[in-house]
Each structure stands twice: as C-alpha cells, then as structure tokens.
Symmetry: C2
Subunit: 160 residues, 2 copies
C-alpha cells in the first residue's frame, strides 16, 4: 500500500536536504494558536462575543485563563480593544476581530468540518449555511484557476 | 465600528441560551491536535515521511516526543502502522496516513495560508501548486452550490 502525499519539487526534494524550522508558517501559526482556550475564544469572537464576561461564560473558561488569552490575542493582533459605554455605566473595553483575526476563519471551519466528519456520531451539532442560497458551507482546496484539488495533485515548491 | 461575525440562527440565537461544551467539533478537533508536535508530525506525513527516524529528523523533535505523539496519532486513527522490510533488515513498522489523517489536510493548508499572509515578511518559504495547471492552491470558503462565501454571508444553524 502506498500512502498519498503531496510531491516536493525543485530544491525541496529530497526532504532531508532542508530544515523547515526557520520559516515554516504552519509551525508559526500553530505556535501562536496552540492552546485550546485560544481556539475557543476565537470561536466565540466569530459567534459575536465582544465583552470579557461574554467570552468567560460562552467559552466556559475561567476569568484568569480568559484574561491571559484575550491579552495574547490582542498582542498578536487577532483581536483589538475598543472603548464602549453603556448608558449610565463607566467606559469599558470590548474585543473586536481584526482583519488578521477574521482571516483565521477558514482554519476554524476546517477544524469544525474535520471534527464533524471524524469525531462526531451525528455529523456535528451545527452547520454553516450560505445565507444567500441556504447551502452548507465548508472549506475546499482549490487553485487560483478554480480547480478543485486533491492531495495527490499537489506540488510543494520553494518561493525564496 | 461593528465587527463582522457570522449570524446565529434558530435556537442558536441568543448565544447565551446554549452551551457549546458537549458537542462542539471545533473543540474536539483542537483537543486531539493541540500540540505543536502533532501538527509538525502531520506536516511531515503529508511531506512523505513514513519511518520513525524520518519523523524525528524532519520535524526536529526528540525521539521521546516523536514516539509519544506518533503513538497518539495512531491511537486516534490519523496514522496507521504497516510492517515493512528492507533487504537484509528485520521487519519494522512504518506510519501511513489514514483517510481520517489525510482529510486533515485543509486544516494544515489553512494554517499555512494564514501564516504566509500574517506571520511572514516574505509570504512564506513555500507554496502549494496544482500540478495540473501550475496555479497556487489554498483553501476557500464555499457553499455546496459553489458560491464563494464571506463571514458576513454565513448563518450557523443547529442540526439536531
């Protein structure tokens, strides 16, 4: 049996000829996001949470964890602070998704899609629907020419 | 300023009316994958590593971490063991991607794409190309009718 993988090309072949350590953006992304709580807080940001107490309650995390993690997410530029004031209350800060944070959405959707398929007996408790046409939404691997691409159709090439 | 989020619909609205804890497949996926080393080993599986010493060397992890993590990935069904024998050597085990493991590829690509865009000055050290046409490959958010979908076009609906 041969397993399907992508194909390394150019000076990326053979794999033992180079180290991914320095530049690998998969590793960099994972390092920035590799706590369960970071993902849960980002999930809640996409579900509309903006206030500290909403994040605590909805992500079901402690105040301490939520505080530490939100601080990191702001520091990394995934969320930004904005002052807001409710009538008769003092000014407080709320957390909004930045463009960088919002752009993480395909990662969250891919994780949900994979979990729905492989970790749930029921296909998952919720689904994403395209409001315009009602069809189910997921992530697809496509090239810039619009072709749907399989793992076996892929070359990995060095850019630098 | 209003932040863009998806829209919760049906009995998922309001968000404070339900707990995601029990069934959330984002959380489940993250729990299974939430170590940096798991991602690096899966990356190397997609790059063609099958043997223990290849994983150690290419993922730049210790033997102990590699061993623990590969064992978990087998246990979770992302990799499977297959005996192999090189001429004159004893039979050994190699690690192959299962269908469940291979299906994780969009998660890895989404992380790479996000890291290329936001965590690298150069756009990342490597790119995925569609062998058939040479165009760059990434993940896209699309509905089953083929429409490209933005965060603001999304409804989250309960399935059960």
């Amino acid at each position: 049996m041969e397993t399907t993988t992508l194909r390394l090309t150019g000076r990326l072949e053979p794999r033992d000829g180079w180290s991914a350590a320095a530049g690998c953006t998969i590793a960099k992304s994972v390092e920035l996001l590799s706590t369960r709580s970071a993902f849960l807080l980002m999930r809640e940001a996409f579900y509309g949470a903006t206030r500290f107490e909403e994040f605590v309650r909805r992500a079901e995390l402690t105040e301490a964890t939520t505080s530490t993690r939100l601080h990191e997410l702001v520091e990394h530029g995934l969320l930004e602070l904005e002052p807001y004031q409710e009538r008769g209350q003092r000014t407080r800060q709320r957390y909004l998704l930045t463009e960088k944070g919002a752009d993480l959405f395909p990662v969250i959707v891919s994780l949900m899609q994979w979990g729905d398929r492989w970790l749930s007996d029921t296909g998952g408790p919720a689904e994403l629907l395209h409001r315009g046409c009602g069809a189910v939404v997921g992530t697809e691997l496509r090239c810039e020419h619009g072709h749907i691409v399989e793992l076996a159709d892929l070359d990995l090439a060095a850019t630098t």
